[in-house]
């Protein structure tokens, strides 16, 4: 097979050898091209081109300062095509380099070097590695928020002890919400600054109270997350106590709300003692707690709405009469299915239902509720499910990020014969889905039957959130969902629809 060798020389044309090599590879890869090279015409380079069968008369005459293009191809046509491609490339004005991906640091150490004024690290690596990273952050002088879960309780205890030693916060593990100095961290809402401090375990409890405070015209000084296990005996409330110390010393905080599941009596005593030694006012918002002995400066709230109201020193949110908004369920059906993205919101709904004498089952039962599992069978009791629980999120994101986690349960609830009402929460703000109401409206459009159960919901959020609360509410109402001003009000509205309960919590 006879090949064609084509040479072209550009006199006095210099290009860096690396650029030339890259261009050579490109041209050599073209159809019908056996080999190609663009090299400066030094004798060494001409020898290389000759050895590769690329040098013809034109190239041989080139000098060191000339650019030689040598192409060997199967046909003249292929050689010419390659040559014009090469010339085109040489003549193309260089584009300002496609901006190389800006360098991102790979370690806390390098990140701190590039941003030396940082004072907090937010850690969300997989659980296996989270403790090591938290330790590095603490020792590098940073406060830590651990969004990661699946961290052992032993690691949690060791880290919190070290943090306490160093005088730094370790918020978590499994801490989804914090607002420090007005800055929302992880899942959090945009709320005004004010003189109410919040301490919360993992998330939606803190979010709901902070939003109700905003709705009531006041603001949050800081919301400190302590993680879901801080008040367990093994951990002993280390971060809760540190948070109480911090708020006690903070001139910007007047009233502090602590929200959590009811702790054991020993831990409760420790926490209440610390509150008692302060001159400030406190609300212990223990969801579903029974009677507890309290110091004089501490009040008890068993729902988030009550907690917010106490902090506000008045009502939390607009006057809402559930009976005025109630819609009856389809005839003969009376089971409520509560499908929640927020764990504490699910707990609050259970408390409201139990206060009205209604039995509930749940995969995250409050005291008095019965446990629910997939094979516990449908006894007709109301369901209150926390869909953010591990069993629903294996390999999937949290339902607050990805509403589709709720899809299967919701579709089933809309069709199951005994279901009289569906109760939902929507949580907006940073970290949450960009448009939970839009997603839900579209889903209902697809799956809702003509004579299906009424849908009752609340939107945990504020006007200042990226999703804008009023806009989300409008979308829901247009889709035929009944929206209540708070999660507790939504639970009361659900009861009212069934002709149960009194005026509201």
């Amino acid at each position: 097979m006879s090949e064609t060798v084509v040479n072209q020389v550009r006199r006095g044309f210099y290009l860096d050898s690396v650029a030339l090599m890259r261009l050579s590879r490109q041209i050599a890869g073209m159809d019908g091209v056996a080999e190609a090279a663009l090299m400066m015409g030094t004798s060494a380079n001409k020898q290389i081109m000759e050895d590769a069968g690329l040098l013809a008369e034109g190239g041989q005459a080139a000098q060191g300062g000339d650019l030689v293009i040598g192409i060997r191809a199967a046909t003249q046509a292929a050689a010419d095509a390659a040559l014009s491609a090469a010339l085109e490339d040489l003549d193309r004005p260089t584009s300002p380099g496609a901006a190389a991906a800006a360098w991102r640091p790979r370690t806390i150490r390098a990140a701190l070097k590039s941003a030396p004024d940082s004072n907090l690290a937010l850690i969300s690596v997989p659980g296996d590695f989270a403790a090591a990273e938290a330790r590095k952050a603490l020792r590098a002088g940073l406060h830590v928020m651990m969004f990661s879960d699946n961290v052992s309780i032993e690691d949690e205890v060791a880290l919190k002890r070290e943090a306490r030693e160093l005088g730094r916060l370790l918020m978590g593990p499994d801490c989804g919400t914090a607002i420090i100095g007005g800055v929302p961290l992880a899942f959090a809402n945009v709320v005004p600054r004010g003189d109410i401090g919040l301490i919360g375990a993992s998330g939606t409890g803190t979010q709901e109270i902070s939003c109700l405070v905003a709705q009531g015209g006041k603001g949050i000084s800081h919301a400190i997350g302590v993680g879901g296990r801080d008040l367990k005996a093994e951990v002993g409330g280390i971060m809760t106590l540190m948070a109480l110390d911090a708020f006690d010393a903070d001139p910007g905080t007047r009233h502090v709300v602590l929200v959590s599941k009811p702790p054991s009596p020993a831990i409760a005593a420790k926490v209440l003692d610390r509150m008692a030694s302060s001159k400030k006012a406190f609300t212990a918002c223990f969801i579903g707690a029974g009677n507890i002995e309290l110091p004089a400066n501490v009040t008890l709230a068993t729902t988030l709405k009550a907690g917010a109201a106490q902090a506000l020193g008045g009502a939390a949110g607009p006057d809402f009469d559930p009976r005025a908004h109630a819609e009856p369920p389809p005839k003969g059906r009376r089971q409520v299915r509560g499908l929640f993205a927020g764990g504490t919101l699910c707990a609050e709904a259970q408390v409201v239902f139990q206060a009205a004498g209604q039995a509930v089952v749940s995969n995250a039962p409050v005291p008095g509720a019965r446990p629910y599992t997939a094979d516990s069978g449908d006894t007709g009791d109301h369901w209150m499910l926390d869909l953010g629980d591990d069993q629903y999120t294996r390999g999937k994101p949290h339902p607050m990020i990805d509403p589709s986690v709720r899809d299967a349960a919701l579709a089933e609830a809309l069709e199951a014969p005994g279901v009289g009402l569906v109760l939902l929460d929507l949580v907006i703000g940073y970290g949450a889905h960009a448009d939970p109401a839009g997603y839900l409206a579209a889903f209902l459009d697809q799956h809702r039957a003509a004579k299906g159960p009424p849908i009752v919901a609340s939107v945990t959020g504020t006007e200042a959130d990226p999703q804008t609360r009023s806009a989300q509410v409008a979308i829901l109402e247009a889709a035929g969902v009944r929206v209540a001003p708070s999660n507790a009000d939504a639970a009361a509205l659900a009861l009212a629809c069934l002709g149960l309960g009194s005026k509201g919590p």
Binding site: A19, G53, L54, W103, R109
Partner: protein, 416 residues
Amino acid sequence: MEKIAQANTEALRRMLAGDPVLIDVIPAAEAMPALADRMILHAGPPIGWDRMCGPMRGAVTGIACFEGWAPDLDAAAQLAADGGFAFHPNHHFDAVGPMTGMTTRGQPVMVVENRAFGNRAYCTVNEGLGKVMRFGGNDAEVLDRLRWLRDDFGPAMGAALREMGGIPLKNIVARGLTMGDEMHQRNLACSALILRQLAPALARTSGDRAALARALAFIGGNDQFFLNVAMAMGKAIMDPVRGIEGSSVVTAMSRNGTEFGIRVSGTGDTWFTAPVEMPEGLYFPGYSEADANPDMGDSTIVETIGLGGFAMGAAPAVAGFVGAGAASEAANFTHTMAEITLGENPEWTIPALDYLGVPTGIDIRLVVETGLAPTINTGIAHKEPGIGQVGAGVVRAPLACFNKALVAFAESLGVS
């Protein structure tokens, strides 16, 4: 933890305090009295004839003929297979050598003295580009050049250096960094700068215009002339850092075409080895990955002192070899190497990165923790002996070396 921190501080201090000066060129037998007849020093950690790659075997047979230990290449190969030569790493004799790294008693070696600590390091003179022994070339042209280096150029350069009292090297490197060099794949500026300094002394000490012209042309025509100087400088800087108890700083990185080896200050002279990786790069016309020899050479001593791949931010042109192509990628490599090093060199700074000092002091703990292995800029040899360079590219040090080193380091401190 305290002990390691203190040891590493001392290691970094010694690195930065080094004062390397190129003082002479002398026969290897004079520089290294222990380098006996039939001893062949090679690049990389210890290796025997049967495991040597093609280019290294080609170089061994070539140097054996050069030294007159065998009548021809085939006889040399037979002699090598029969155990007729003693093979040792350059590093064991205070020396370094690029690619195949052949060092034998008859060759001239450059001498760099670290005036801060009094130690010396040696490296042969860079032969030039193309068909050379460091890429396994061993024909008459290669051997003739080695003879010329031994009989003419070496003595001439030595005389010039002695006459001028030596050439301090740190400042040349500092200026080279501002001119686009990284001292491994790019030595053009430093080669030019050192020629400026040598030329007058060569002229003063030369009795023969033709010989002078040949010497000047030899240096002037070799873009990589400074590589071997930089390597000897690297060895001279790192040797005083060896043997600091509790220090996790890497004191040497080296390859023999089959294995990659590292040494760590706190574990003394132990080599931690793993199979070398294949370089990824660009090839000269007519060649491709299929022709490439695995990674080879003592030149990674240059990365060990913060240059080469670590200083890529100073040499955007080299970034083309990285695959992504944009010159702006070069800075990212320097930033990434900063994740695995203890500090910066305040005397060797990169203007385009706001005068960031080159990342200095590779810590094996940081390498293992981040999984980021040192990035090395390297030439690529043809895998068959005698052909020469076929390209240039980037290769990573194998993480396995650092994992092994870390285990041994921990054991040395009584941590299981």
